[in-house]
Amino acid sequence: MASDAMAPITLRAPKIISELSRQRLAAARWFLLPMLAALSVVAGWPLLRSIYFSFTDASLTDLYGAEFIGFGNYLRWTTLASGKTIYRGLLVDSAWWNAVWNTLRFAFWSVSFEAVLGMIVALVLNAEFRGRGIVRAAILIPWAIPTIVSAKIWAWMLNDQFGILNDLGLRLGLLSQKVAWTASADTAMQAVLIVDIWKTTPFMALLILAGLQMVPKDIYEAAELDGVHPVKQFFAITLPLVRPALMVAIIFRLLDALRIFDLIYVLTPNSAATKTMSVLARENLFDFDKFAYGSAMSTLLFLIIAVLTILYIWLGQVRFDGGDR
C-alpha cells in the first residue's frame, strides 16, 4: 500500500470517471435534450429557412416555387450601354442603412440610460429602509405591463392634441406650443427612447441589485475604517464588484434593443426617424411582398447582432460564471 502512495504522479494519468460522474453526465444530457429540441425547431429551423430564402427570389404568393439567385438580394449590378454601372440590393439600400443607424442609435442610448438609471435604482433598493419589499415589487410594474399596452398608454400621454405631457408642459410654461412627439421626425426617437427606458430600467435595476447583494457588507465596513469617501467607495469598490452582473445585464438588454420591434411598431408606425431593422424587415416580408428581400434583411440583422455581441463579450471580457469571486 505504501509503495502505491510513493509512486510518482504521472501527468498523463488515465482520466477516471466515477460511476456518479457518469450518471450526472447522462442526466445532464437528458435534461438538455428537450431544450435543444425545442430550440432547433423554433429557432434553428426558421433561422436556416430565412437564410435560405435570402438567396432566392421567394415571394409570399409562391414560397415553394422559389429559385436560387445567389447574392442577388444583397448586391447585384448591371452595366448600361453607356458604361455606367448601377448597383442594386440590400447593401446599397439607403432605407436599410437608415434602419441600421436607427437601431444602433436606439440601442446605444436606451442601454446607456438604462444602465445608469438601473444602477441608481439598484443602489437605492439595496439600502435598508421601511417598505423596501413593496417598493421592490412596485418597481417591476412597468416591466410587467405588456409592451403593446404600455406603448398605447404612452401614445395617449404623448398625443399632440389630448396628451397629458403637452398639457402639463404648456401649463408649467415648459412648452410654448403643442408638440407632435411621436409624429415629428425630430422627437420621434426621443419619444421611443423615453418609453423604452421607462419600461426596461426596472429589469436592469433588478439584475444589478442581484449583483449588489453579492457584495459582502463587511467590505464596506473595512472601507469606512479606511476612510473611503462614498463616491470613491462606489467607483473603487462597488462598481468593480458588480461589474460582472452589470455586463451580463447590459448584454441581455443589448440583444433586446437591437431587435426592437413592438414598441416602435405601435408608438411611431411608419416613421423613417425610428424605423429599425426588425420593423423594416417585417414591412418587406409581409407588406411589400418582397419576401426574399426581407429575408436578406433578417439575415443581416442576425449577423449584425451576432458580431456586436461577440465584440462586446470579447472587448468587455464578460464572464458568465459569476465573475472573479
Binding site: I219, A222, E224, L225, D226, G227, A236, I237, D324
Partner: protein, 335 residues
C-alpha cells in the same frame, strides 16, 4: 498610542438593549480581550469602539477626548474582521495600500515601504501580487492583519479573527498575534473572542461580558484564581470548573462550591466525595475522568499522564481545600 475610556455606554437596536451600561478603561499599549458567550454584546462593544455603530448613550473617550460622533477613519484605529473583509478585486498589495493612498501626504515610496515592512513582518511578501481568492484562509487573515498594520493605528481591533481558521492555524496565528503585540508595544489592542483559551493566552487583561454588562475585568490569572461569580468561574479555564451544590456544599459552608478539575485528586480511601466513573479521556500529557455524583453536570477530574480507570469504577475524590471557590445563592463569592 491611546487609552480608551467607556463611560456608561449603552446601545439599543430598536427596543432591544444589547449593551446595558458599560464602564471600562483600556490602558495605553494594553492587550484587552473581550470574552463571553454568543450574544453577550462583545462584538457590538468592539463596533461601538470602532465607530461602525453609534452609541445610544454614554461617552466614549480616546485619550481623554470624547469621540462619540467621530467617523471611524478619524479615530486612528484599524480593524481585523472575522471574515477578513479583503477587497476581492484588489491584489494583496493594493488591499494593504488602499487606506494609505486615500490619506493625504503619503508619498508612493513611503507607502511601498510601509506595505513591504508589514508584509515582511507577517511573511506574506511572496503573495503581494496575488488576489485574495488565490490565498488560503490563514494567508488571507494575515493580509487582513497586514492591512491593519500598514495604517499604523493607535488602536488595533480584532473581531474574532481566528474563528474561520482550522485548529492548527488558529494556534499558529494566535502566536503571531502575541508576537505582534510584543513588537508593537505602543499600540492598544482590543480583541474579541468567545474562546477562553485565546483570551487566557493573549490578554494583558480580560473583560468578561454577559448579557451586555461587564461581569469581571482582570488579568488572566486574577480571573482564574479569584473569579467573582459562578459565571466567570465557569467560563474561564479548561476543562470547565466543577460546581457542586446541595448538602455537599453546605458542609463546606457555601451554597455552591466550585473546584477545578486540576484541583481534585483521586484518593484510595477517606475521600471527601465519591462518584462513579462514566467516561475517561486520555490526552497523553494529561487525562480527564468524568464522574457521576448527582451534580447537574458530571464532575471532571484532571490527572497528569494517562489513567486506567474504567467506566463503572467507583472512586473517592478530595479537593485541595485552599483551591476551592465558595459561592452564595446569588452566584457571588462568599467570604
Amino acid at each position: 498610542m491611546a487609552s480608551i475610556e467607556l463611560r456608561n455606554i449603552r446601545k439599543s437596536f430598536g427596543v432591544v438593549e444589547v449593551i446595558k451600561g458599560v464602564d471600562l478603561e483600556v490602558r495605553k499599549g494594553e492587550f484587552m480581550v473581550f470574552v463571553g458567550p454568543s450574544g453577550c454584546g462583545k462584538s457590538t462593544l468592539l463596533r461601538l469602539i470602532s465607530g461602525l455603530e453609534d452609541i445610544t448613550s454614554g461617552d466614549m473617550l480616546f485619550d481623554g477626548k470624547v469621540v462619540n460622533a467621530l467617523a471611524p477613519s478619524k479615530r486612528g484605529i484599524a480593524m481585523v474582521f472575522q471574515s477578513y473583509a479583503l477587497y476581492p478585486h484588489m491584489t494583496v498589495y493594493d488591499n494593504m495600500a488602499f487606506g494609505l493612498t486615500l490619506e493625504k501626504g503619503h508619498h508612493k515610496d513611503e507607502i511601498r515601504q510601509r506595505v513591504e515592512k508589514a508584509a515582511e513582518m507577517l511573511q506574506i511578501t511572496p503573495y503581494l501580487d496575488r488576489l485574495p481568492k488565490q490565498l488560503s484562509g490563514g494567508q488571507r487573515q494575515r493580509v487582513a492583519i497586514g492591512r491593519a498594520i500598514t495604517r499604523d493605528p493607535k488602536v488595533f481591533l480584532f473581531d474574532e479573527p481566528l474563528s474561520n481558521l482550522d485548529a492548527a492555524l488558529r494556534v499558529a496565528t494566535r502566536i503571531e498575534i502575541a508576537k505582534l503585540h510584543e513588537e508593537m508595544d505602543n499600540v492598544t489592542m482590543i480583541y474579541v473572542t468567545h474562546d477562553q483559551v485565546e483570551a487566557m493566552t493573549l490578554a494583558d487583561r480580560i473583560c468578561v461580558l454577559r448579557d451586555g454588562v461587564i461581569e469581571q475585568v482582570g488579568t488572566p490569572m486574577e480571573l482564574y484564581e479569584t473569579p467573582n461569580s459562578v459565571f466567570v468561574a465557569g467560563f474561564i479555564g479548561s476543562p470547565k470548573m466543577n460546581f457542586i451544590g446541595g448538602e455537599r456544599a453546605e458542609q463546606l459552608g457555601a451554597h455552591t462550591v466550585g473546584v477545578r478539575g486540576e484541583h481534585l485528586t483521586i484518593v484510595p480511601e477517606n475521600g471527601t466525595w465519591s462518584g462513579k466513573v462514566i467516561h475517561t479521556e486520555n490526552l497523553g500529557a494529561d487525562s480527564y475522568v468524568y464522574l457521576e455524583m448527582g451534580t447537574e453536570e458530571p464532575v471532571v477530574v484532571r490527572l497528569d499522564g494517562a489513567n486506567n480507570y474504567r467506566s463503572g469504577d467507583v472512586v473517592q475524590i478530595s479537593p485541595m481545600m485552599d483551591k476551592i471557590h465558595r459561592f452564595d445563592a446569588a452566584g457571588r463569592p462568599s467570604a
